[in-house]
């Protein structure tokens, strides 16, 4: 037996810290169009390599190439662009509103808009997302009213959750958007359960679980894979790898040479890794995975490689732990600019139309904001009542709670 050296602990560090100049020239990504597109009923054993590569459709010239490129109509493409622009404008306004003290907290999507905006386009009415706080694109692309979103953020009287939840914790059964929890990852296994219920009742609806790469370390992620694989649940399990979990880089939690997608391999779940800043790649993969679920072929695990360009939340200052320039240096580019380039490349868009669209979108968002603020903001206007605080703990208020409500004066 070999003699034993003194052991030591290995603690992974990100490539760059404040003060470093981020340089990704050594990092190579697979070329757009280079990854195979298997049939949806593929034997998962045959596509293990897809857990370690990256599916990409849009190349450097804005062309959609390879087996994952699907024909989208110009209107569909423009709708995609507009959704992302709307999300970006919405984020900008709400971020500012928070800075102005109109609400307590906000979380933006900057750089990740393609993931939720594109995925939504593969869903049907009745399907259910179990999102995290960074998938508002599902609501926007799904046509949920901006005013209602803002009322939630402002905790005003228009908030359907009566001011009870932290800003951005939306909920809409009708729009297939499960109520967001503050506890990371819990929704992931619930998505599996929801989809199992659909299967048990012989329904045709599917569920989609969402999680950040950091939160894959949580218990619920594992339970979700165990249950989804055991019962072949009709669910799509999405991991949004935006490289950061607050101040913690994705190397903490990913483990050595693993990928988040590869977590699925041990369960025999088909697993894909996709360029999350490529609207077309996201949509193609979303269609593939949702089709598998609809055909009762079971779960799919998808990792979206993207980058959180903004702070974690309004409570965060990323310049304390990563170089300011990292977001620009990040090699996968900006999802809005990439789809815009594609639309221009296919002759369906122009710089002028883009500038105009941005202005229109901003007008729409500002109009919605005005409407929401007419109802109120966190500290002004019409608000949910303290009485609302006592409602909905149970379907029927039990005696002790009624006593407490009276004691509180309501």
């Amino acid at each position: 037996m070999t003699s034993s050296p003194r052991l030591s602990l290995s603690v992974p560090e990100p490539a760059f810290r404040p003060g470093d100049t981020p340089d990704y020239s050594g990092v190579t990504f697979p070329e757009a169009g280079s990854v195979q597109r298997p049939p949806v009923d593929v034997n998962p054993e045959e596509i293990r390599d897809l857990a370690f590569t990256i599916i990409r459709v849009l190349d450097r010239n804005g062309e959609a190439v390879g087996p994952w490129a699907e024909a989208l109509s110009p209107d569909e493409l423009r709708k995609g662009l507009r959704d992302m622009l709307t999300l970006r404008a919405y984020d900008a306004r709400m971020l500012m509103a928070q800075r102005q003290g109109k609400t307590s907290f906000y979380m933006q999507h900057l750089g990740e808009e393609a993931v939720s905006c594109a995925f939504q386009r593969a869903l049907r009415p009745g399907d259910m997302n179990f999102p995290t706080y960074r998938q508002a694109g599902l609501l926007i692309a799904g046509g949920y009213p901006l005013v209602k979103m803002m009322c939630q953020v402002y905790s005003n009287d228009g908030d359907s959750a009566r001011g009870r939840q932290l800003p951005v914790f939306y909920s809409s059964r009708e729009h297939g958007f499960f109520s967001i929890s503050g506890n990371l990852a819990t929704q992931y296994v619930q998505a599996v359960g929801w989809s199992m219920a659909s299967a048990i009742t012989g329904d045709s609806k599917i569920a989609v679980g969402w999680i950040g790469e950091g939160a894959t370390a949580e218990n619920d992620f594992h339970a979700a894979l165990v249950f989804a694989s055991t019962y072949k649940a009709p669910v799509v399990l999405n991991v949004v790898n935006n490289q950061w979990a607050i101040s913690t880089f994705q190397g903490i939690a990913r483990g050595g040479s693993g990928t988040f997608a590869a977590r699925g391999l041990g369960f025999g779940i088909p697993t894909l890794r996709v360029d999350g800043n490529d609207y077309l790649a996201v949509l193609a993969v979303a269609k593939w995975a949702t089709e598998r679920a609809r055909l009762n072929l079971g779960p799919t695990l998808v990792e979206y490689v993207t980058y959180r360009a903004g702070g974690h939340s309004t409570s965060d200052d990323p310049s304390a732990y990563r170089p300011k320039e990292e977001s620009n240096a990040w090699p996968l580019g900006d999802p809005v600019l990439r789809l815009k380039a594609h639309l221009i490349a296919v002759g369906e868009w122009s710089e002028e139309r883009h500038t105009q669209a941005e202005a229109e979108v901003m007008d729409t968002v500002i109009a919605a904001q005005r409407e929401a603020e007419e109802i109120g903001t966190l500290h002004t206007g019409r608000k949910p009542s303290p009485r609302d605080m006592f409602e909905d703990v149970y379907a029927t208020m039990p005696p002790h709670l009624l006593r407490q409500r009276h004691e509180a004066g309501y």
Binding site: R164, S179, G193, I200, D220, V393
Partner: protein
């Protein structure tokens, strides 16, 4: 009137509920083909199919987490945690999710879920097959917590729990599964089948949540108990000759405070009994409520007789268990003080 063990009564409640309502599903570890390690789901898979009654992986979190999703979809899952001692891995899903879903979505999503789990000791199960974690549920707003003490209640309360639109924690005192154990571990337990308390009327008869039962009317003092301790308290009253009014709480949350207050105002004395550890146990809440609501009627301090503040030991199980001797002694002391 048929007689049933508590196990049969629980099985029967599943059967009645699943027959009546296609949205009721049952699952958990060993719950499907085998029918549960305590046999509470025996025969259900055969009768209702694998899609409505099935085995799960050993993940309490997965069981509850999936059930929350199913409940949000519109099913009524009635799931088993093999021992209450093993609910901790699922505690987050219970506390942060099942209990909070209606509130945080203002009723848009709800969670009509029943979580069954055997509790309590007395089977030489050691510290991880004996716990009584009811206080850990009663402290959580959004949950209801139920503990039956007879087969009829087990069936009736379980039916109501399944009907309930909110998450219910259903704690089954495993020492009562086969008979009304009164703490005399050295005597043979009478089977429910040979005991009047084992009588269960055939058919669908829910017992409402939130209503206590007076198991023994009395005037000298009030005993508040639930689960196994109801039978221990009855034995203690019998053996000491103290004319105790024994109240079986049945539902810990929502609590039937009126029945309690009425009784203590009448007797002026109160003994609280549970098997869980003392500190911050459910008895603390009861004592706090009783002293608050009956202050001017109380002639002696409210006394708690409970498991000691130690893990549940294996060999010293009967030194740990608050049996009829300890309960009887407390009753006598409270009478004399």
């Amino acid at each position: 009137m048929a007689r049933m063990t508590m196990i049969e009564a629980i099985q029967n409640a599943h059967d009645l509920a699943m027959e009546r309502d296609r949205t009721v599903v049952a699952f958990g570890q060993d719950v499907g083909f085998f029918g549960g390690v305590f046999r509470c789901t025996a025969g259900l898979q055969k009768k209702y199919g694998k899609e409505r009654c099935f085995d799960t992986p050993i993940s309490e979190l997965g069981i509850i987490g999936a059930a929350v999703g199913m409940a949000a979809y519109g099913l009524k899952p009635c799931v088993e945690i093999q021992f209450a001692d093993y609910m901790y891995p699922a505690y987050d899903q219970i506390v942060s999710e099942a209990a909070r879903l209606r509130y945080r979505s203002a009723g848009e999503f709800t969670c009509p879920l029943v979580v069954r789990m055997p509790t309590g000791g007395g089977i030489y199960g050691g510290q991880t097959h004996s716990q009584s974690p009811e206080a850990l549920f009663a402290h959580v707003t959004g949950l209801k917590t139920v503990v039956p003490s007879t087969p009829a209640d087990a069936r009736g309360l379980l039916l109501s729990s399944i009907e309930d639109p909110d998450p219910v924690i259903f704690l089954e005192p495993k020492r009562l599964y086969n008979g009304p154990f009164d703490g005399h571990h050295d005597r043979p337990v009478v089977s429910w089948k040979k005991h009047d308390l084992g009588e269960v009327e055939p058919g669908y008869h829910p017992v409402p949540l939130g209503k206590a039962a007076i198991r023994r009317p009395g005037s000298a003092l009030t005993v508040l108990a639930y689960g196994t301790m109801v039978h221990v308290a009855l034995a203690a009253a019998e053996e000491t000759g103290v004319d105790a009014e024994v109240i079986d709480l049945r539902t810990l949350l929502p609590l039937d405070l009126d029945t309690i207050v009425e009784s203590v105002r009448k007797t002026g004395r109160c003994v609280i009994v549970h098997e869980a550890t003392l500190t911050c146990g459910y008895g603390a809440e009861l004592a706090a409520l009783v002293q608050k609501n009956c202050f001017y009627s109380l002639e002696a301090p409210v006394v708690r007789v409970t498991g000691w503040d130690t893990p549940y030991p294996h060999a010293q199980e009967w030194d740990y268990f608050p049996g009829p001797t300890r309960v009887g002694r407390a009753m006598t002391q409270v009478l004399e003080s």
